[in-house]
Symmetry: C2
Subunit: 183 residues, 2 copies
């Protein structure tokens, strides 16, 4: 008798994290959300950490897809700007999932974050950076984006006027610096 599926459990966990925050995700509450009891969850996932790994993996795949779609076939600078906006939009849409993606990086030996978030930026920025500095440029861009959206979702922003404007200013400034470093 199968009352639910692994995919439904992951999706329910995702919804709880998005809607109520990761602190409100409990095994008892999650089980109730899919119509079973807490002990039954342990037949699907070894423990809560394993469940969160599954949620994080799906979230990372989603983020990567959005970044690659935003980049499209644009030239480096427009691609980077569109990716930056897509990145920020994801974080503002689902801050709980965003935090999960980045906070749990330490416990991810496969370094999924590199493939999902860093690689798309490196692909877009390499032509602009030149001189073998595509990796450094992508790291700088990801760090800037991460800092901007973390400050925003954690309530430390806007620290300097309207955030849309501060966001654009920062991205433009770094892109200019990267392009000039290549010159």
């Amino acid at each position: 008798m199968t009352k639910t599926s692994d995919a439904q459990i992951v999706e329910a966990a995702r919804q709880i994290i998005i809607g109520q925050g990761i602190d409100q995700l409990t095994q008892r509450g999650l089980a109730a959300a899919v119509g079973i009891k807490a002990p039954s969850l342990y037949k699907r996932f070894a423990d809560q950490a394993a469940l969160l790994r599954a949620v994080r993996g799906q979230a990372l795949a989603d983020l990567e897809a959005r970044l690659r779609r935003a980049a499209g076939d644009q030239p480096p600078a427009p691609a980077a700007l569109r990716m930056a906006n897509a990145f920020r939009a994801y974080a503002l849409e689902a801050p709980g999932l965003y935090r999960l993606i980045f906070d749990a990086a330490l416990q991810d030996p496969e370094r999924t974050l590199e493939r999902a978030a860093l690689a798309p930026f490196e692909a877009a920025l390499a032509p602009l950076a030149g001189g073998g500095q595509g990796a450094s440029s992508a790291h700088a861009m990801l760090a800037l984006l991460h800092g901007l959206v973390r400050l925003e979702i954690d309530g430390a922003a806007p620290m300097a006027g309207p955030h849309d404007e501060a966001f654009r200013f920062a991205i433009y400034a770094l892109l200019q610096g990267i392009a000039r470093s290549a010159g």
Copy 2:
């Protein structure tokens, strides 16, 4: 009969957060560290959140002092570089405190983070940025630093080679972009 003081409790909490991480800070463990029982803590601080606010306030004052000392009387660019290094050093020294400072910004109606971290950067960068873009430049610099050190302490870095080098590259690039934005 006073077995301890508020200051001793805050200091003990600070040491636990630095040495064992904020997850290991429990009311029972903290009370034991200062030689009392857990319920007695509630005569000093309303709850754990109030205690953490006190720890955060002290950590923010410490960070601000370090940033202002690093800046000294240097010109904008050297001052910003020294502040960036001091900022990173603080985060690597006490990642638990660093996370507390930034993660709890949302619950700080006084926006202490602005005074402690943003203002020093604005003071240093205003001459470089010009055109009334000192605030935006400081916000961009703080966001970049925050992203860089968060990626580093959360284990997502080094994502692009040695981190010292990636750190310098990113800071230099943004400084160049800021200077160029000024015309």
